[in-house]
Protein backbone atom coordinates (compact mmCIF):
# COMPACT_ATOMS: atom_id res chain seq x y z
CA UNK A 1 0.00 0.00 0.00
CA UNK A 2 1.25 3.48 -0.81
CA UNK A 3 2.54 5.88 1.87
CA UNK A 4 0.77 8.89 0.36
CA UNK A 5 -2.17 8.85 -1.94
CA UNK A 6 -4.18 11.68 -3.48
CA UNK A 7 -7.59 10.86 -4.92
CA UNK A 8 -9.41 13.26 -7.22
CA UNK A 9 -8.14 16.42 -5.57
CA UNK A 10 -9.84 19.71 -6.51
CA UNK A 11 -8.42 22.98 -5.17
CA UNK A 12 -9.62 26.53 -5.77
CA UNK A 13 -8.18 29.92 -4.91
CA UNK A 14 -11.42 31.86 -4.57
CA UNK A 15 -13.00 31.39 -8.00
CA UNK A 16 -9.75 30.32 -9.67
CA UNK A 17 -9.51 26.59 -10.22
CA UNK A 18 -5.95 25.40 -9.58
CA UNK A 19 -6.37 21.59 -9.40
CA UNK A 20 -8.98 19.68 -11.36
CA UNK A 21 -8.89 16.20 -9.93
CA UNK A 22 -5.31 15.18 -9.20
CA UNK A 23 -4.70 11.56 -8.23
CA UNK A 24 -1.26 10.23 -7.43
CA UNK A 25 0.57 7.77 -5.20
CA UNK A 26 3.94 7.78 -3.48
CA UNK A 27 5.23 4.46 -2.14
CA UNK A 28 7.47 4.20 0.89
CA UNK A 29 11.13 4.54 -0.04
CA UNK A 30 10.54 6.19 -3.41
CA UNK A 31 11.55 9.48 -4.93
CA UNK A 32 8.56 10.61 -6.98
CA UNK A 33 8.72 13.75 -9.06
CA UNK A 34 5.99 16.09 -10.33
CA UNK A 35 6.99 18.03 -13.42
CA UNK A 36 5.05 20.56 -15.43
CA UNK A 37 5.05 24.12 -16.71
CA UNK A 38 4.61 27.19 -14.58
CA UNK A 39 1.07 27.34 -13.22
CA UNK A 40 0.35 23.65 -13.76
CA UNK A 41 -0.54 23.20 -10.09
CA UNK A 42 2.58 21.59 -8.63
CA UNK A 43 2.97 23.96 -5.67
CA UNK A 44 -0.76 23.86 -5.01
CA UNK A 45 -0.58 20.07 -4.74
CA UNK A 46 2.26 20.40 -2.21
CA UNK A 47 0.31 23.01 -0.25
CA UNK A 48 -2.77 20.80 -0.19
CA UNK A 49 -0.81 17.83 1.14
CA UNK A 50 0.67 19.92 3.97
CA UNK A 51 -2.70 21.46 4.84
CA UNK A 52 -1.87 25.02 3.82
CA UNK A 53 -4.80 25.07 1.39
CA UNK A 54 -8.03 23.09 1.79
CA UNK A 55 -9.21 20.98 -1.12
CA UNK A 56 -12.81 21.56 -2.17
CA UNK A 57 -13.12 17.91 -3.11
CA UNK A 58 -11.00 14.77 -2.91
CA UNK A 59 -9.09 12.75 -0.38
CA UNK A 60 -5.50 12.78 0.90
CA UNK A 61 -4.33 9.66 2.72
CA UNK A 62 -1.03 9.32 4.53
CA UNK A 63 0.07 5.99 6.00
CA UNK A 64 -3.43 4.61 5.75
CA UNK A 65 -5.24 7.51 7.48
CA UNK A 66 -6.99 10.50 5.98
CA UNK A 67 -5.18 13.82 6.55
CA UNK A 68 -7.48 15.77 4.23
CA UNK A 69 -8.75 18.31 6.74
CA UNK A 70 -6.04 18.30 9.38
CA UNK A 71 -4.33 21.60 10.29
CA UNK A 72 -0.73 21.94 9.06
CA UNK A 73 0.97 21.34 12.42
CA UNK A 74 -0.82 18.02 12.87
CA UNK A 75 0.24 16.93 9.41
CA UNK A 76 3.85 17.72 10.36
CA UNK A 77 3.39 15.62 13.50
CA UNK A 78 2.17 12.70 11.38
CA UNK A 79 5.50 12.78 9.53
CA UNK A 80 5.10 15.04 6.48
CA UNK A 81 7.25 18.14 6.20
CA UNK A 82 8.16 20.42 3.35
CA UNK A 83 10.74 22.78 2.00
CA UNK A 84 8.46 25.40 0.47
CA UNK A 85 8.79 27.07 -2.92
CA UNK A 86 11.02 30.13 -2.74
CA UNK A 87 12.77 28.77 0.39
CA UNK A 88 11.06 31.06 2.91
CA UNK A 89 13.58 30.79 5.72
CA UNK A 90 13.02 32.96 8.82
CA UNK A 91 15.35 35.74 7.74
CA UNK A 92 15.88 37.51 11.08
CA UNK A 93 16.47 34.31 13.03
CA UNK A 94 19.77 32.47 13.09
CA UNK A 95 20.48 29.30 11.14
CA UNK A 96 20.38 27.39 14.41
CA UNK A 97 17.02 28.88 15.39
CA UNK A 98 15.60 28.01 11.97
CA UNK A 99 16.65 24.40 12.47
CA UNK A 100 15.32 24.42 16.03
CA UNK A 101 11.95 25.54 14.66
CA UNK A 102 12.02 22.65 12.22
CA UNK A 103 11.92 20.34 15.24
CA UNK A 104 9.17 22.38 16.91
CA UNK A 105 6.64 19.55 17.02
CA UNK A 106 9.11 17.12 18.60
CA UNK A 107 9.87 16.51 22.26
CA UNK A 108 12.67 13.92 22.06
CA UNK A 109 15.72 16.01 23.00
CA UNK A 110 18.36 13.41 22.15
CA UNK A 111 16.73 12.59 18.83
CA UNK A 112 16.74 16.27 17.90
CA UNK A 113 20.45 16.59 18.68
CA UNK A 114 21.14 13.53 16.53
CA UNK A 115 19.17 14.97 13.63
CA UNK A 116 20.99 18.27 13.94
CA UNK A 117 24.23 16.37 13.45
CA UNK A 118 22.72 14.57 10.48
CA UNK A 119 21.70 17.89 8.87
CA UNK A 120 25.17 19.35 9.48
CA UNK A 121 26.73 16.25 7.92
CA UNK A 122 24.60 16.78 4.80
CA UNK A 123 25.21 20.56 4.74
CA UNK A 124 28.54 21.43 6.40
CA UNK A 125 28.06 25.06 5.30
CA UNK A 126 25.16 25.41 7.70
CA UNK A 127 27.31 24.38 10.64
CA UNK A 128 29.87 27.05 9.79
CA UNK A 129 27.08 29.65 9.70
CA UNK A 130 25.12 28.37 12.67
CA UNK A 131 24.82 31.71 14.51
CA UNK A 132 24.41 33.90 11.46
CA UNK A 133 20.95 35.22 10.66
CA UNK A 134 19.37 33.28 7.81
CA UNK A 135 18.73 36.40 5.75
CA UNK A 136 22.46 36.91 5.27
CA UNK A 137 22.95 33.49 3.64
CA UNK A 138 23.40 33.06 -0.12
CA UNK A 139 20.51 31.64 -2.13
CA UNK A 140 22.05 28.19 -2.18
CA UNK A 141 22.67 28.20 1.54
CA UNK A 142 19.10 29.32 2.19
CA UNK A 143 17.89 26.39 0.09
CA UNK A 144 20.04 24.04 2.16
CA UNK A 145 18.60 25.59 5.30
CA UNK A 146 15.03 25.16 4.08
CA UNK A 147 15.69 21.48 3.35
CA UNK A 148 17.55 21.05 6.64
CA UNK A 149 14.70 22.69 8.54
CA UNK A 150 12.23 20.28 6.95
CA UNK A 151 14.48 17.32 7.88
CA UNK A 152 14.54 18.44 11.51
CA UNK A 153 10.92 17.32 11.80
CA UNK A 154 12.26 13.81 11.04
CA UNK A 155 9.69 13.32 8.28
CA UNK A 156 8.76 10.04 6.72
CA UNK A 157 7.68 11.98 3.66
CA UNK A 158 9.65 15.03 2.56
CA UNK A 159 8.04 17.47 0.13
CA UNK A 160 10.50 19.54 -1.88
CA UNK A 161 9.15 22.41 -4.00
CA UNK A 162 11.67 23.48 -6.64
CA UNK A 163 14.83 23.01 -4.59
CA UNK A 164 17.09 23.84 -7.54
CA UNK A 165 15.36 27.08 -8.54
CA UNK A 166 17.77 29.98 -8.92
CA UNK A 167 20.86 28.05 -7.86
CA UNK A 168 24.24 28.17 -9.58
CA UNK A 169 24.75 25.16 -11.90
CA UNK A 170 27.39 23.45 -9.73
CA UNK A 171 25.05 23.73 -6.73
CA UNK A 172 22.14 22.26 -8.66
CA UNK A 173 24.19 19.11 -9.17
CA UNK A 174 25.05 18.79 -5.50
CA UNK A 175 21.48 19.49 -4.33
CA UNK A 176 20.26 16.56 -6.42
CA UNK A 177 22.98 14.35 -4.99
CA UNK A 178 21.96 15.34 -1.47
CA UNK A 179 18.33 14.56 -2.28
CA UNK A 180 19.41 11.04 -3.21
CA UNK A 181 21.45 10.78 0.00
CA UNK A 182 18.43 11.76 2.06
CA UNK A 183 16.34 9.17 0.26
CA UNK A 184 18.95 6.47 0.92
CA UNK A 185 18.68 7.31 4.64
CA UNK A 186 15.08 6.09 4.40
CA UNK A 187 13.09 9.26 3.69
CA UNK A 188 10.41 9.08 1.01
CA UNK A 189 10.48 12.16 -1.24
CA UNK A 190 7.97 13.97 -3.41
CA UNK A 191 9.99 16.32 -5.57
CA UNK A 192 8.57 19.21 -7.59
CA UNK A 193 10.89 20.49 -10.29
CA UNK A 194 11.02 22.61 -13.40
CA UNK A 195 14.40 21.09 -14.06
CA UNK A 196 12.71 17.96 -15.41
CA UNK A 197 15.87 16.43 -16.77
CA UNK A 198 17.67 16.29 -13.42
CA UNK A 199 14.51 15.40 -11.50
CA UNK A 200 13.78 12.40 -13.72
CA UNK A 201 17.36 11.20 -13.36
CA UNK A 202 17.12 10.94 -9.57
CA UNK A 203 13.46 9.90 -9.28
CA UNK A 204 11.95 6.44 -9.48
CA UNK A 205 8.64 7.56 -10.95
CA UNK A 206 7.17 10.77 -12.27
CA UNK A 207 3.89 12.55 -12.92
CA UNK A 208 3.43 15.20 -15.58
CA UNK A 209 0.94 17.95 -14.69
CA UNK A 210 -0.84 20.29 -17.09
CA UNK A 211 -3.39 22.91 -15.97
CA UNK A 212 -4.32 21.11 -12.81
CA UNK A 213 -4.49 17.56 -14.17
CA UNK A 214 -2.16 14.60 -14.35
CA UNK A 215 -1.57 13.97 -18.07
CA UNK A 216 1.14 11.31 -17.82
CA UNK A 217 2.35 8.93 -15.11
CA UNK A 218 5.17 6.48 -15.62
CA UNK A 219 8.54 5.32 -14.38
CA UNK A 220 11.17 8.03 -14.52
CA UNK A 221 13.18 6.05 -17.05
CA UNK A 222 10.20 5.78 -19.39
CA UNK A 223 9.35 9.46 -19.03
CA UNK A 224 12.93 10.37 -19.91
CA UNK A 225 12.53 8.39 -23.13
CA UNK A 226 9.02 9.67 -23.90
CA UNK A 227 8.93 11.75 -27.11
CA UNK A 228 6.36 14.28 -25.85
CA UNK A 229 8.12 14.76 -22.54
CA UNK A 230 11.42 15.27 -24.29
CA UNK A 231 9.88 17.89 -26.56
CA UNK A 232 7.82 19.75 -23.96
CA UNK A 233 9.98 19.58 -20.84
CA UNK A 234 13.49 18.61 -21.79
CA UNK A 235 13.80 21.20 -24.54
CA UNK A 236 14.66 18.80 -27.34
Amino acid sequence: MSLLSLRDLHVYYGAIRALEGISLDVNAGEIVTMIGANGAGKSTTIRAISGLVRPRQGEITFDGASITNLPPHQIVMRGVSQSPEGRRVFANLTVFENLELGAYTRRDRSGIVGDLERVFALFPRLKERMYQSAGTLSGGEQQMLAIGRALMARPRLLLLDEPSLGLAPFLVQSIFEIIQDINRQGVTILLVEQNANQALRVAHRGYVLETGRVVLADSAANLLRNEEVRRAYLGE
Binding site: S50, G51, L52, P71, P72, H73, V76, M77, S81, Q82, P84, R88, V89, F90, A91, N92, L93, E97, E100, L101, G102, Y104, T105, R149, A150, A153
Partner: protein
Protein backbone atom coordinates in the same frame (compact mmCIF):
# COMPACT_ATOMS: atom_id res chain seq x y z
CA UNK B 1 17.49 22.75 45.50
CA UNK B 2 20.23 25.33 45.68
CA UNK B 3 18.79 26.88 42.54
CA UNK B 4 15.41 27.33 44.19
CA UNK B 5 16.92 28.77 47.36
CA UNK B 6 18.78 31.32 45.26
CA UNK B 7 15.63 32.08 43.30
CA UNK B 8 13.66 32.61 46.49
CA UNK B 9 16.33 34.89 47.95
CA UNK B 10 16.45 36.86 44.69
CA UNK B 11 12.69 37.33 44.57
CA UNK B 12 12.49 38.32 48.24
CA UNK B 13 15.32 40.79 47.75
CA UNK B 14 13.65 42.33 44.71
CA UNK B 15 10.35 42.68 46.56
CA UNK B 16 12.07 44.31 49.54
CA UNK B 17 13.87 46.71 47.22
CA UNK B 18 10.64 47.62 45.43
CA UNK B 19 8.98 48.20 48.78
CA UNK B 20 11.82 50.40 50.02
CA UNK B 21 11.73 52.52 46.86
CA UNK B 22 7.97 52.72 47.15
CA UNK B 23 8.07 54.07 50.69
CA UNK B 24 10.86 56.50 49.86
CA UNK B 25 9.14 57.78 46.71
CA UNK B 26 5.80 58.30 48.41
CA UNK B 27 7.34 60.26 51.26
CA UNK B 28 9.89 62.32 49.36
CA UNK B 29 8.61 63.01 45.87
CA UNK B 30 6.24 65.84 45.10
CA UNK B 31 2.82 64.40 44.51
CA UNK B 32 2.77 65.62 40.93
CA UNK B 33 6.03 63.87 39.95
CA UNK B 34 4.95 60.78 41.81
CA UNK B 35 1.78 60.64 39.76
CA UNK B 36 3.71 61.04 36.52
CA UNK B 37 5.97 58.14 37.52
CA UNK B 38 2.99 55.92 38.33
CA UNK B 39 1.40 56.83 35.01
CA UNK B 40 4.68 55.98 33.27
CA UNK B 41 4.63 52.56 34.97
CA UNK B 42 1.06 51.94 33.84
CA UNK B 43 1.89 52.89 30.25
CA UNK B 44 4.99 50.71 30.35
CA UNK B 45 2.72 47.76 31.20
CA UNK B 46 0.41 48.71 28.34
CA UNK B 47 3.21 49.16 25.79
CA UNK B 48 5.27 46.10 26.76
CA UNK B 49 2.16 43.92 26.72
CA UNK B 50 1.05 45.22 23.32
CA UNK B 51 4.59 44.60 22.12
CA UNK B 52 3.96 40.88 22.70
CA UNK B 53 1.34 41.04 19.97
CA UNK B 54 2.55 43.77 17.63
CA UNK B 55 6.27 43.44 18.05
CA UNK B 56 7.08 39.85 18.93
CA UNK B 57 4.25 38.05 17.13
CA UNK B 58 3.95 40.59 14.30
CA UNK B 59 0.17 41.12 14.41
CA UNK B 60 -1.07 44.68 14.08
CA UNK B 61 -3.54 45.25 16.90
CA UNK B 62 -4.54 48.82 17.75
CA UNK B 63 -7.36 48.40 20.23
CA UNK B 64 -5.37 47.84 23.40
CA UNK B 65 -7.33 50.60 25.16
CA UNK B 66 -10.35 48.28 25.07
CA UNK B 67 -8.71 45.67 27.30
CA UNK B 68 -7.36 48.44 29.53
CA UNK B 69 -10.96 49.63 29.93
CA UNK B 70 -12.35 46.16 30.63
CA UNK B 71 -9.75 45.66 33.39
CA UNK B 72 -10.36 49.08 34.91
CA UNK B 73 -14.15 48.79 34.92
CA UNK B 74 -14.37 45.19 36.13
CA UNK B 75 -11.79 45.83 38.86
CA UNK B 76 -13.57 49.00 39.95
CA UNK B 77 -16.95 47.27 39.75
CA UNK B 78 -15.67 44.92 42.40
CA UNK B 79 -14.52 47.61 44.81
CA UNK B 80 -17.43 50.00 44.22
CA UNK B 81 -20.41 47.75 43.52
CA UNK B 82 -19.82 44.23 44.78
CA UNK B 83 -17.32 44.56 47.62
CA UNK B 84 -19.74 46.27 50.06
CA UNK B 85 -22.16 43.35 49.67
CA UNK B 86 -19.44 40.76 49.99
CA UNK B 87 -17.87 42.46 53.03
CA UNK B 88 -21.15 42.17 54.92
CA UNK B 89 -20.97 38.41 54.59
CA UNK B 90 -17.20 38.11 54.92
CA UNK B 91 -15.60 40.51 57.43
CA UNK B 92 -12.14 39.69 56.01
CA UNK B 93 -13.09 41.84 53.01
CA UNK B 94 -13.84 45.01 54.98
CA UNK B 95 -11.92 48.10 53.94
CA UNK B 96 -10.97 49.42 57.38
CA UNK B 97 -7.52 47.81 57.59
CA UNK B 98 -4.46 47.71 55.33
CA UNK B 99 -4.75 44.00 54.80
CA UNK B 100 -8.40 44.52 53.86
CA UNK B 101 -7.19 46.95 51.20
CA UNK B 102 -4.62 44.51 49.92
CA UNK B 103 -7.04 41.59 49.77
CA UNK B 104 -9.57 43.68 47.88
CA UNK B 105 -6.96 45.02 45.47
CA UNK B 106 -5.81 41.48 44.74
CA UNK B 107 -9.39 40.39 44.09
CA UNK B 108 -9.93 43.40 41.80
CA UNK B 109 -6.68 42.57 39.97
CA UNK B 110 -7.72 38.96 39.48
CA UNK B 111 -11.20 39.85 38.26
CA UNK B 112 -9.93 42.61 35.97
CA UNK B 113 -7.18 40.44 34.52
CA UNK B 114 -9.54 37.52 34.06
CA UNK B 115 -12.22 39.61 32.36
CA UNK B 116 -9.70 41.25 30.06
CA UNK B 117 -8.14 37.87 29.25
CA UNK B 118 -11.53 36.35 28.38
CA UNK B 119 -12.35 39.36 26.22
CA UNK B 120 -8.98 38.94 24.53
CA UNK B 121 -9.82 35.31 23.79
CA UNK B 122 -13.25 36.14 22.40
CA UNK B 123 -11.93 38.94 20.20
CA UNK B 124 -8.73 37.16 19.26
CA UNK B 125 -9.96 33.74 18.24
CA UNK B 126 -12.01 34.91 15.26
CA UNK B 127 -10.08 38.03 14.32
CA UNK B 128 -6.54 36.65 14.42
CA UNK B 129 -7.44 34.63 11.34
CA UNK B 130 -7.52 37.97 9.57
CA UNK B 131 -4.32 39.49 8.30
CA UNK B 132 -2.69 42.87 8.51
CA UNK B 133 -5.06 45.75 7.99
CA UNK B 134 -8.17 43.73 8.75
CA UNK B 135 -6.96 42.83 12.22
CA UNK B 136 -6.14 46.49 12.82
CA UNK B 137 -9.67 47.51 11.83
CA UNK B 138 -11.34 44.84 13.96
CA UNK B 139 -9.30 45.68 17.05
CA UNK B 140 -9.82 49.42 16.61
CA UNK B 141 -13.55 48.77 16.25
CA UNK B 142 -13.50 46.58 19.34
CA UNK B 143 -11.96 49.41 21.39
CA UNK B 144 -14.75 51.72 20.31
CA UNK B 145 -17.46 49.13 20.97
CA UNK B 146 -16.22 48.73 24.55
CA UNK B 147 -16.29 52.48 25.04
CA UNK B 148 -19.84 52.80 23.68
CA UNK B 149 -21.06 49.87 25.75
CA UNK B 150 -19.58 51.45 28.91
CA UNK B 151 -21.22 54.75 28.04
CA UNK B 152 -24.56 52.99 28.12
CA UNK B 153 -24.30 50.98 31.32
CA UNK B 154 -25.92 53.02 34.08
CA UNK B 155 -24.60 50.82 36.86
CA UNK B 156 -21.06 52.02 36.13
CA UNK B 157 -22.09 55.65 35.76
CA UNK B 158 -22.59 55.92 31.99
CA UNK B 159 -20.81 58.98 30.62
CA UNK B 160 -19.96 60.25 34.11
CA UNK B 161 -17.99 57.11 34.79
CA UNK B 162 -17.14 55.62 38.15
CA UNK B 163 -15.98 58.20 40.64
CA UNK B 164 -14.59 57.89 44.12
CA UNK B 165 -13.10 54.44 43.72
CA UNK B 166 -11.21 53.53 46.94
CA UNK B 167 -7.53 54.29 46.31
CA UNK B 168 -6.40 50.81 47.23
CA UNK B 169 -3.16 51.06 45.24
CA UNK B 170 -1.90 53.93 47.38
CA UNK B 171 -2.63 52.32 50.75
CA UNK B 172 0.36 51.69 52.97
CA UNK B 173 2.71 53.62 50.66
CA UNK B 174 2.50 50.71 48.24
CA UNK B 175 1.58 52.65 45.08
CA UNK B 176 4.96 52.38 43.39
CA UNK B 177 5.34 48.82 44.66
CA UNK B 178 2.18 47.49 42.97
CA UNK B 179 2.69 49.22 39.65
CA UNK B 180 6.34 48.35 39.25
CA UNK B 181 5.81 44.82 40.56
CA UNK B 182 3.74 44.19 37.44
CA UNK B 183 6.18 46.12 35.26
CA UNK B 184 8.99 43.81 36.41
CA UNK B 185 6.84 40.67 36.13
CA UNK B 186 5.76 41.51 32.57
CA UNK B 187 9.29 42.35 31.45
CA UNK B 188 10.53 39.06 32.93
CA UNK B 189 7.81 37.11 31.12
CA UNK B 190 8.54 38.87 27.81
CA UNK B 191 12.27 38.27 28.12
CA UNK B 192 11.89 34.62 29.02
CA UNK B 193 9.55 34.19 26.08
CA UNK B 194 12.08 35.75 23.69
CA UNK B 195 14.82 33.45 24.92
CA UNK B 196 12.89 30.17 25.04
CA UNK B 197 12.31 27.75 22.20
CA UNK B 198 8.59 28.17 22.85
CA UNK B 199 9.02 31.89 22.15
CA UNK B 200 10.82 31.11 18.90
CA UNK B 201 7.43 30.12 17.52
CA UNK B 202 6.13 33.67 18.18
CA UNK B 203 9.06 35.14 16.24
CA UNK B 204 8.49 32.61 13.45
CA UNK B 205 4.89 33.80 13.10
CA UNK B 206 6.16 37.37 12.80
CA UNK B 207 8.82 36.42 10.25
CA UNK B 208 6.66 34.34 7.91
CA UNK B 209 3.33 32.95 8.98
CA UNK B 210 2.98 30.45 6.13
CA UNK B 211 6.48 29.09 6.69
CA UNK B 212 5.70 28.86 10.41
CA UNK B 213 2.59 26.84 9.60
CA UNK B 214 4.61 24.62 7.30
CA UNK B 215 7.23 23.90 9.97
CA UNK B 216 4.56 22.71 12.37
CA UNK B 217 3.91 25.79 14.51
CA UNK B 218 0.26 26.02 15.54
CA UNK B 219 0.08 29.62 14.42
CA UNK B 220 -3.48 30.25 15.58
CA UNK B 221 -2.62 29.10 19.08
CA UNK B 222 0.54 31.20 19.19
CA UNK B 223 -1.33 34.33 18.12
CA UNK B 224 -4.22 33.79 20.51
CA UNK B 225 -1.78 33.12 23.38
CA UNK B 226 0.07 36.36 22.72
CA UNK B 227 -3.19 38.24 22.41
CA UNK B 228 -4.67 36.87 25.64
CA UNK B 229 -1.45 37.44 27.60
CA UNK B 230 -1.33 41.04 26.35
CA UNK B 231 -5.00 41.55 27.25
CA UNK B 232 -4.45 40.17 30.76
CA UNK B 233 -1.70 42.70 31.43
CA UNK B 234 -3.69 45.55 29.89
CA UNK B 235 -6.46 44.55 32.28
CA UNK B 236 -4.04 44.69 35.21
CA UNK B 237 -2.91 48.14 34.08
CA UNK B 238 -6.58 49.17 34.06
CA UNK B 239 -7.21 47.95 37.61
CA UNK B 240 -4.09 49.77 38.84
CA UNK B 241 -5.12 52.97 37.08
CA UNK B 242 -8.64 52.88 38.51
CA UNK B 243 -7.47 52.28 42.07
CA UNK B 244 -4.74 54.88 41.95
CA UNK B 245 -6.41 57.76 40.11
CA UNK B 246 -9.83 56.84 41.64
CA UNK B 247 -11.97 58.24 38.79
CA UNK B 248 -12.56 56.54 35.48
CA UNK B 249 -14.91 57.32 32.62
CA UNK B 250 -15.32 55.90 29.12
CA UNK B 251 -13.29 58.86 27.83
CA UNK B 252 -10.26 57.70 29.81
CA UNK B 253 -10.08 54.80 27.36
CA UNK B 254 -10.89 56.45 24.04
CA UNK B 255 -9.29 55.83 20.69
CA UNK B 256 -6.45 58.26 21.47
CA UNK B 257 -5.35 56.04 24.32
CA UNK B 258 -5.19 53.01 22.03
CA UNK B 259 -3.29 54.96 19.41
CA UNK B 260 -0.79 56.31 21.92
CA UNK B 261 -0.05 52.77 23.14
CA UNK B 262 0.46 51.58 19.56
CA UNK B 263 2.71 54.58 18.92
CA UNK B 264 4.85 53.62 21.91
CA UNK B 265 5.44 50.14 20.49
CA UNK B 266 6.23 51.39 17.00
CA UNK B 267 8.42 54.22 18.25
CA UNK B 268 10.41 51.94 20.53
CA UNK B 269 11.02 49.51 17.69
CA UNK B 270 8.55 46.67 17.24
CA UNK B 271 9.74 43.64 19.15
CA UNK B 272 12.16 45.46 21.44
CA UNK B 273 11.16 45.34 25.10
CA UNK B 274 13.66 48.04 25.99
CA UNK B 275 12.26 50.19 23.21
CA UNK B 276 8.70 49.84 24.48
CA UNK B 277 9.77 50.73 28.02
CA UNK B 278 11.68 53.84 26.96
CA UNK B 279 9.08 55.00 24.45
CA UNK B 280 6.30 54.55 27.01
CA UNK B 281 8.25 56.59 29.55
CA UNK B 282 9.11 59.25 27.00
CA UNK B 283 5.60 59.61 25.56
CA UNK B 284 4.02 59.72 29.01
CA UNK B 285 6.48 62.11 30.64
CA UNK B 286 7.07 64.37 27.62
CA UNK B 287 3.63 66.03 27.44
CA UNK B 288 3.91 66.66 31.17
CA UNK B 289 7.39 68.16 30.95
CA UNK B 290 6.21 70.37 28.10
CA UNK B 291 3.31 71.75 30.12
CA UNK B 292 5.00 75.17 30.38
CA UNK B 293 4.66 75.54 26.62
CA UNK B 294 0.89 75.45 27.01
CA UNK B 295 -0.96 74.80 23.75
CA UNK B 296 2.27 74.45 21.78
CA UNK B 297 3.17 71.29 23.58
CA UNK B 298 1.14 68.99 21.35
CA UNK B 299 2.82 70.59 18.32
CA UNK B 300 6.30 70.06 19.77
CA UNK B 301 5.35 66.54 20.76
CA UNK B 302 4.08 65.62 17.29
CA UNK B 303 7.08 67.21 15.59
CA UNK B 304 9.42 65.16 17.76
CA UNK B 305 7.56 61.98 16.86
CA UNK B 306 7.71 62.74 13.14
CA UNK B 307 11.42 63.52 13.35
CA UNK B 308 12.15 60.25 15.11
CA UNK B 309 10.16 58.20 12.62
CA UNK B 310 11.89 59.96 9.72
CA UNK B 311 15.38 59.35 11.03
CA UNK B 312 14.74 55.87 12.46
CA UNK B 313 11.80 54.22 10.72
CA UNK B 314 12.59 50.90 12.40
CA UNK B 315 11.98 52.58 15.77
CA UNK B 316 14.56 53.61 18.31
CA UNK B 317 15.75 50.08 18.99
CA UNK B 318 14.73 48.08 15.93
CA UNK B 319 14.57 44.49 17.12
CA UNK B 320 17.48 45.09 19.49
CA UNK B 321 17.59 45.11 23.25
CA UNK B 322 19.52 47.23 25.67
CA UNK B 323 20.94 45.05 28.38
CA UNK B 324 24.06 43.99 30.16
CA UNK B 325 25.53 42.46 26.98
CA UNK B 326 25.11 45.72 25.06
CA UNK B 327 26.97 47.68 27.71
CA UNK B 328 29.80 45.16 27.64
CA UNK B 329 30.01 45.49 23.90
CA UNK B 330 29.96 49.29 24.11
CA UNK B 331 32.74 49.33 26.63
CA UNK B 332 34.88 46.83 24.75
CA UNK B 333 34.50 48.39 21.33
CA UNK B 334 34.73 51.91 22.71
CA UNK B 335 32.28 53.27 20.18
CA UNK B 336 28.62 54.10 20.38
CA UNK B 337 27.40 52.60 17.14
CA UNK B 338 26.85 48.99 18.23
CA UNK B 339 23.16 49.45 18.92
Amino acid sequence: MRFWVNRLLGVTGALALLYAISVWATENLQEYYFKVIILCGIYIILAVSLNLVNGITGQFSIGHGGFYAVGAYVGAAWTVLWQPEAARALPLLQLNTLHGHIVNLLIALMLGAFAAGCTGFLVGLPSLRLRGDYLAIVTLGFGEVIRVVLLNIDAVGGARGLIGIPSLVQSGNLGFFWVFLFVVLLIAISRNLLQSSYGLAFLAVREDEVAADATGVNTTRVKVTAFVLAAVFAGIAGVLYAHFFINISPDTFDMNTSIIITTMVVLGGSGSITGSVLAATFLTAMPELLRDFKEYRMVIFSTLLILIMLTRPQGLFGHGELGYATFQRLIRSGRGKTL
